[in-house]
């Protein structure tokens, strides 16, 4: 999406109105006294003020919004909305306030380059979250006028359910007893790959990360331990509490490197499987569970 002149709005700030009143007072006084130097001063102020309105407009117009997205987070934590922008002309943009409500961050984009800004977006409940309009604004160059434009993410943002804080251990732990805890020491047991956002922090291999200069995660080609079945119907809890418990268990299973399957009502069974994509598929299904009836 490119911000062009039809999408950019400019209005004077409160100080801008004060400045205007000041310049007009000067002009009226100067005209009355036929005081030409004072009139020149007042008119120069007006001219520079109007030019600053145009410059404020130029701060935004021509800005290309490349993408708006966020990694899903559990409800209650803020979504970190990443907005990537670029400009193709030779005017660097700096100090663009990018915000949602009271939260805002500063975006700067160099000339013929790109910039990324992260804006926190508070979340309350699982499911799709509408980011609403995101405002990009600038009061530069003089603070007399504010130019702003609205952008919207193309897709809604996903908010995962909040995992239960004090959840019991996985449902089959007591039964099987054969499950062995994964080894996190030794390097021959697992493969290493680049860290991807969303990988549990425990899977980060710190030593290799330090060696490679970038974050690495452990993955297990053959997940050890046996399968675990997480069944909606096996739990006797209120609707949201069940979702919460299942979300926690999914995370626990993933963290322990086990294969797990999720069974939700009116949906095909997910899995069994493991890994980043599987985890996200399960959490997404939980996030998108319909609301309980009667609520």
């Amino acid at each position: 999406m490119r911000l062009d002149r039809r999408r950019v709005y400019v209005l004077p700030t409160r100080f801008g109105f004060f400045y205007m009143a000041l310049a007009l007072t000067m002009c009226i006084g100067a005209l009355n006294y036929n005081n030409n130097p004072a009139l020149l001063l007042g008119l120069s102020l007006i001219g520079a003020g109007l030019a600053s309105l145009l410059y404020a407009h130029l701060q935004l117009s021509g800005l290309q919004v490349d993408s708006i997205g966020a990694e899903p987070v559990p409800a209650g934590q803020p979504l970190q909305l990443r907005i990537a922008c670029s400009v193709r002309d030779a005017r660097p943009r700096a100090g663009l306030r990018t915000g949602l409500g009271v939260e805002s961050s500063t975006l700067s984009v160099p000339a013929t380059g790109g910039g990324i800004v992260t804006v926190p977006l508070p979340t309350e409940r699982r499911g799709w979250q509408d980011a609403g309009r995101i405002e990009i604004s600038s009061i530069r160059p003089l603070g007399l006028a504010r130019a702003w434009s609205w952008i919207r993410p193309d897709q809604p943002l996903l908010v995962h359910p909040t995992p239960e804080a004090e959840a019991p251990s996985l449902p089959d732990a007591a039964l099987s007893g054969t499950r062995s805890r994964p080894h996190f020491s030794g390097e021959d047991l697992h493969l290493l790959r680049d860290y991807q956002p969303g990988d549990p922090i425990r899977t980060i291999a710190w030593k290799p990360s330090a060696r490679h200069g970038q974050l690495m995660s452990r993955t297990w080609e053959h997940p050890h331990g046996d399968e675990v079945e997480l069944d909606w119907h096996a739990l006797a809890l209120p609707h949201e509490a069940r979702i919460s418990r299942l979300a926690r268990w999914v995370e626990m299973a993933e963290r322990e490197g086990r294969r797990y399957a999720l069974k939700l009502p009116m949906q095909p069974r997910i899995g069994p499987g493991s890994g980043h994509d599987h985890l996200h598929a399960c959490l997404r299904a939980l996030a998108l569970m319909p609301e309980a009836h009667g609520h």
């Binding site: 009355n32 005081n35 120069s44 007006i46 520079a48 109007l50 700096a94």
Partner: protein, 640 residues
């Protein structure tokens, strides 16, 4: 939101720059006090804000001090000094960005109010500096608020320059075309502190300040041959009444209007008067015409209807007077002979002696007096102080003085001898500026001379000072050359050029008023612009100026790379044929697509696309040639 110390420094610098032109126009003591207050408040408020009560007390003190300095008289200058004092107190309470912005806004009033006191080019230059400083500071504040590293000063200044340049067409259009009002809707308050200048009274020693002031009072351009130096008397207030020390009082307004006959060809000239805060319009003696906006008094001098608060220009005609008021009514004659009783016995005795010796012949009495002045008196600005009998002291004891002493004593002697006489003040002489060929009369040319009334001839000018020091009066002394420092004359040319430029400034900038505006389009054959067409012109010019701004805006949005711009232009030319390039379409693909639809252009277009690809993604040194070729290429009229 607070700001960093560097921003605070810049803010204070802006305040200082804005105050500078104003302080130059205020009395020295007030200016120094304002500077001291500003420094003190800046230091005191640097780390933490002063308590409210203290701030209030300091502000009240500053107001009281300024009022006291102007003797509690409200005037234009008092108001300006109060503004300066308030601005000086302001740094102590500047904490937030909002405070900072309002400080910048209010400090812009300092150069504005400077123009109420002085409209010279130096003030204008300083005001321009403060405008730039204020805008640069506003930029920095906006950067701080935007949460980015504020740029270097040079960056700020270059951006301010761009803003001013972008607004310049609008500024100039509004300046020339915004309808001016012929006469003010409300008046300008006078100054509280009087300037040294001509006044309605003189007493010995009054003029020392004025005569040391080398600033220009009048600039005069003659249309035709100028008068001789001996005729360069600029007539100001005429003084009739003497109380022993002070001459004062003009003829009553209901006195008979003077009639003067001309003794030769007159002089037409344009007189440009610097603001004097007085109404006296010192025309060349004797003014024959009364311009609009002025009146002529029974004393034969001109008075403007309003005090001269800015540079004014007058078109005048003067004549060498003969038989000026040939008959003197009895009450005026009595007034022209009145003397304070029981003063200056020696002068009276001498006058009586002349009277009896000459048999009361006024011409002979004047001759006696002039020869005495010539023989016994000396000219010097360093005149010793005079006692109670001022005329006696001057004539017989100190014998040294300048025009005030000479004219005063001479008129006293005349009256004592029974010859009606009065003191005339004004300017004498002038300096012909070789640059621009016009005459300059300076404040230091202030002069007082005498007029005696002779039966059949009317009032006749007699200048006792000129008898003693003609080179002094008629400005022929080398050391009266302006711009001279001691015996060094190298700067004289510079001074001449500077005054000539100042005259141009007065003419082109200050002199632009409703009348000149109505003649703005005379070069196009439009004799008079009325209000309606002026507004129409203004609207047109404003639209053009805004259009220029918008053109810059679209220029800012356009593609910077000339190659890409040319390429986009090529695509736009195919839009008519429904073959514009899709944003995601590669150059080669598009050329192939167009080639299918329009085979005639296939080869050329594909070659251009290939060259474009090479120039864009590989190094190619035929860029300019390619841009030219793309720009020249046009789709054929109709290929179907």
């Amino acid at each position: 939101m607070a700001f960093d110390p560097a921003t605070r420094r810049m803010l204070l610098a802006t305040l200082a720059i804005s105050l500078a032109p104003l302080l130059l126009q205020l009395p020295g003591t007030v200016a120094l006090a304002v500077i001291a207050t500003a420094l003190l408040m800046s230091l005191a408020g640097w780390r933490r804000p002063l308590p409210g009560a203290i701030k209030l007390a300091i502000a009240a003190l500053a107001v009281a001090a300024v009022m006291a300095a102007f003797d509690f008289r409200m005037g234009r200058d008092t108001g300006c000094a109060l503004l300066a004092a308030m601005l000086a107190v302001k740094p102590a309470e500047t904490r937030s960005l909002r405070d900072a912005r309002s400080l910048v806004g209010f400090s812009l009033f300092a150069p504005f109010s400077t123009f109420l006191l002085d409209q010279g080019p130096v003030s204008m230059l300083l005001a321009l500096l403060s405008l730039v400083a204020a805008l640069a500071t506003l930029q920095r504040l906006a950067d701080v608020e935007s949460g980015i590293e504020a740029g270097a000063l040079r960056e700020h200044l270059s951006r301010v320059g761009k803003l001013l340049a972008l607004g310049l067409p609008l500024t100039m259009a509004a300046f020339w075309l915004f309808p001016r009002i012929g006469s003010p809707l409300w008046g300008v308050p006078d100054r509280a502190a009087a300037r040294a200048g001509l006044s309605d009274s003189i007493s010995p020693g009054d003029w020392l300040e004025l005569m040391a002031d080398d600033r220009t009072a009048l600039r005069v351009r003659f249309f035709g041959p100028p008068p001789t130096r001996e005729s360069l008397y600029w007539r100001g207030p005429v003084l009739w009444d003497f109380d022993g020390r002070t001459w004062s009082g003009a003829a009553p307004a209901n006195a008979t209007m003077p009639i003067a006959e001309t003794a030769g060809a007159g002089w037409d000239y344009e007189l440009e008067a610097e603001p004097s805060e007085q109404r006296y319009l010192t025309a060349l003696d004797f003014p024959d015409s009364v311009p609009d906006g002025a009146i002529r008094t029974p004393d034969g001098n001109l008075l403007a209807r309003q005090s001269l608060q800015s540079v004014t220009r007058w078109r005048l005609r003067s004549i060498p007077a003969a038989r000026f008021q040939a008959s003197l009514p009895a009450f005026e004659r009595r007034r022209a002979l009145a003397l304070p009783p029981a003063t200056n016995p020696r002068a009276r005795q001498l006058a009586m002696q002349w009277r009896t010796q000459t048999g009361g012949n006024p011409v002979a009495i004047v001759g006696r007096a002039m020869s005495m002045v010539n023989a016994e008196l000396a000219y010097s600005l360093a005149a010793p102080p005079l006692g109670r009998d001022a005329v006696d002291d001057f004539l017989f004891v100190t014998q040294t003085g300048y025009c005030e002493h000479f004219s005063s004593s001479f008129v006293f002697l005349m009256r004592a001898a029974g010859v009606p006489a009065r003191v005339v003040t004004g300017y004498a002489g002038g300096y012909l500026n070789p640059v621009g060929d016009y005459w300059i009369v300076r404040n230091s040319d202030a002069h007082a001379w005498a007029e005696v009334w002779l039966a059949g001839r009317g009032w006749v000018r007699v200048d006792p000072t000129a008898a003693v020091a003609p080179e002094r009066i008629f400005d022929t002394l080398a050391d009266r050359q302006p711009g001279r420092i001691g015996s060094f004359e190298g700067l004289a040319g510079l001074w001449n050029a500077a005054d000539w430029m100042r005259r141009g400034w007065n003419d082109f900038v200050l002199g632009f008023d409703a009348q000149r505006q109505s003649r703005l389009l005379r070069w196009l054959g439009v004799q008079r612009l009325d209000g309606g067409s002026l507004v129409a012109l203004l609207v047109l010019a404003t639209v053009l100026a805004l259009g220029w701004m918008l053109w810059w805006l679209s220029r800012g949005e356009r593609e910077r790379d000339p190659l890409l711009r040319a390429w986009h232009g090529l695509s736009a030319r195919y839009r008519r044929h429904g073959l514009a390039r899709a944003p995601s379409e590669a150059a080669g693909d598009w050329a192939a697509r167009v080639g299918l639809a329009r085979p005639a252009e296939k080869a050329q277009l594909e070659s251009l696309a290939t060259r474009f690809g090479e120039a864009r993604y590989a190094t190619s040194d035929e860029r300019d040639a390619l841009i030219r070729d793309i720009r020249r290429f046009r789709p054929g009229r109709d290929a179907s």
